[in-house]
Amino acid sequence: MSTTSVTSASGTTGPPATAVPLEADLTVVARRHPWRWVGVGVVLVLLAMFVHGLATNPGWDWPTFFQFFATRTVFSALWVTVQLTVYGTVLGFVLGAVLASMRLSGSPFLQVVAWGYIWAFRSIPLIVQLLFWFNIAYLYQELSLGIPFGPEFVHFSTNNLFGPLGAAVLGLALHQAAYAAEIIRGGIISVDAGQTEAAAALGIPKRRQFFRIVLPQAMRSILPNGANEVISLFKGTSIVSVMAIPELFYQVQVIYGRNSRVVPLLMVATVWYIVLTTLLSIVQYYVERRFARGTTR
């Protein structure tokens, strides 16, 4: 550790050597980023103004917000929203999985049918599709199950089969399935073909090749995209308000229709959407972590 001696000993006059260290001991000074700090300052000011506004602008009308935020009406509306999301997701992803397997099957016919479905349901705006389902009874009064042009086994009146809620779930699920199918298919084809080949070479049965080898690895890419879809479906349920179904967004509209306090009631819906989306994101984090086995060093 005697790095200083050389210079100071040979010095003739001048300041007695503010020790010149060896090159290996030089300290590192990081580059400075003045503009970053300017950026941080500007954003902080804007944030402060926004929060100040939230707190002091009487237009936000926080008392009304708190009056309705945790009421029974809002909760039951929230429950409808959650149900729509859950049923829509489950049905959507089940149908999506079927469509994905059709597209990945060896049969050109099944491939084309699945492709056609996805094409159609990605082309039709969700709201238009929902209104069709809402008016299905106008097109078909009765549905029956049986051999085409032959005997019928059961038949339903369409109005009994789909209550408005059923129609909404059906619409959301059919829409969701088209996207879910592509996400699932994308996940499956992202797994290297060598994995199935190795499994086949080991004599592992077909089903197990898929569920034990391919699917767990496909989940890595299915999950983030799938979670995105669930969250967007959750918020998308607000569209169902056009069918007068008492979900969250419809219910706050009803309330502000009566008391004209639009902004605080929109905030009620907003905050609930944020809370539940946050919960979903947390769930997503843990589920993804579970499927991340073997991917990091």
Binding site: E197, A201, L202, I204, R293, G294, R297
Partner: protein, 250 residues
Amino acid sequence: MIDVKGVHKSFGDLEVLKGIDLEVEAGAVTVILGPSGSGKSTLLRSINHLEKVDRGLIRIDGELIGYRRRGDKLHELRERDILRQRSQVGFVFQNFNLFGHLTALENVVEAPVSAQRRKRSEVEPFARELLERVGVGEKADAYPRQLSGGQQQRVAIARALALKPKVLLFDEPTSALDPELVGEVLDVIKELARDGSTMVVVTHEIGFAREIADTVVFIDDGRIVESGPPKEVLDNPVHERTRAFISKVL
């Protein structure tokens, strides 16, 4: 042990195997050499019915692979029977193809459990033994991504051995490896050869071929050009093409 008779295989218009006859005796090591695209992988994969042949027969231990003969027609077997046949053949791939979401140990245990329906707890000690044998015993709980190429390939060999196959097939087991890792994998294969396993190895490592092969087979353009003991084929090749190839590789 392995009996290949008049095998033809085309991909579309491209005829890759143009009538291959090959016999491998039990306990013998056969090394297949040949230029890129000559059909070596295709031949090896046909032996495991990973490729369906267009014409010809492949038998292992007298059992027809992939087909059942009825009169003068060959009917393809059911998936289940094909999978059973495959579990008698160990295959080691050029790029390992370890299951990325499973640890080394789970990779080895998987096939005995799901193809032979044995109990996991029963198979595990044997799997650890195999990992020990190929020199990666201490890596049993590591995931493939945490292993070097050489270690991955050794785990892949252990995985192929887990079904106690009658035959081992290696498709260029060292060509995806850094030069300094080639030796450790070749050593494992040599060890297996010494233990009397029946093996077919596709490789470009001439020195290795000379050391372990009972028979060297040279393939070019979908045909076997020359075959025989390494001394003949490698040191005194009869055919011009074999000579040209060997002088290029050496």
